[in-house]
């Protein structure tokens, strides 16, 4: 069943991504002020939104683990945070490349960029913490606490462009009362959010299966070494 879901979401993501990439590069015109570089937005935004969702999924699963003590919750949390971190890196790198052209600089220490960097560093710390502890229950408990703590930063990242004057552009999507994009341009952004999300569902399921096999190996190894 899971194999079928991985296959179906993978195929759906590939079809949708191909359609979106065609539209992004060959149908959409250059933006009036920014030129071609604005197309980076179509990967920057979906990667950011999907990473936020995964970090919250990780926090939810961490709460589940602290309440139920079931290893499956810990596995979901670790996989969600790991993939979320990958997407956060994509967001950061694409944002910096865009900034080099739009602002003339790679980086600015404004609220949005700094809070997002802090967010990334927290999740790097999360993965380092997990790899440093061998005992599964202790690893799960400590990393769950860190995951919940790190997720609190997401709201700061999300709201920073509304709460503070930042170098980063304010909200552009109409769902955030931004209204800074033409309707055709905005719709394509949502389609790419869906495509990236589908790709991440497939990746999530593959990685989750690996985490399950890893748990199985640890259990078998303990059995093999038992007197």
């Amino acid at each position: 069943m899971r194999q079928a879901i991985i296959l179906l979401t993978g195929i759906a993501a590939a079809i949708l991504l191909s359609r979106n990439i065609y539209n992004i590069f060959l149908v959409m015109p250059d933006e009036a002020n920014q030129g071609a570089i604005w197309r980076i937005f179509y990967f920057h935004l979906p990667a950011a939104l999907t990473s936020f969702f995964l970090f919250y999924l990780g926090a939810g699963a961490s709460i589940g683990f602290l309440v139920n003590k079931k290893p499956s919750w810990d596995r979901v949390a670790s996989v969600a945070n790991e993939i979320g971190l990958t997407l956060a890196l994509i967001t950061l790198v694409t944002g910096m490349i865009w900034a080099r052209i739009a602002w003339g600089i790679w980086w600015a220490w404004d609220h949005r960029l700094t809070s997002y960097l802090v967010c990334i560093l927290l999740y790097v710390a999360y993965l380092m913490l997990r790899s440093a502890i061998d005992e599964p229950t202790l690893r799960g408990r400590l990393s769950a606490v860190l995951s919940i703590f790190a997720s609190a930063n997401i709201i700061l990242v999300w709201k920073s462009i509304e709460w503070y004057r930042t170098q980063h552009p304010g909200p552009v999507l109409s769902i955030r009362n931004g209204g800074g994009m033409a309707p055709g341009m905005e719709a394509l952004a949502y389609w790419n959010v869906l495509a990236i999300a589908l790709l991440m569902v497939a990746t999530f399921l593959v990685r989750l299966r690996q985490a399950e096999v890893q748990t199985e190996i640890e259990t078998m190894r303990r059995y093999a070494h038992a007197a």
């Binding site: 980076i40 990967f43 490349i97 093999a224």
Partner: protein
């Protein structure tokens, strides 16, 4: 300016996909490692069970 603009757009997409590809490659490497580890542990258990019986 336009040429530079276009080049940086290409860098952005290449960087994004490169991160995805690197992550997928780490998944594939991990999968391979897990399979061989699973085989090894199974072998260890079989050897232990044979010894004890």
């Amino acid at each position: 300016m336009d040429e530079r603009n276009f080049a940086y757009m290409a860098y952005g997409f290449i960087a994004a996909w490169l991160i995805v590809v690197v992550y997928v490659l780490t998944l594939a490497t991990r999968e391979k490692k897990l399979r061989s580890e699973l085989e090894r542990v199974r072998y260890m258990i079989e050897a232990r069970d044979k010894k004890s019986s």
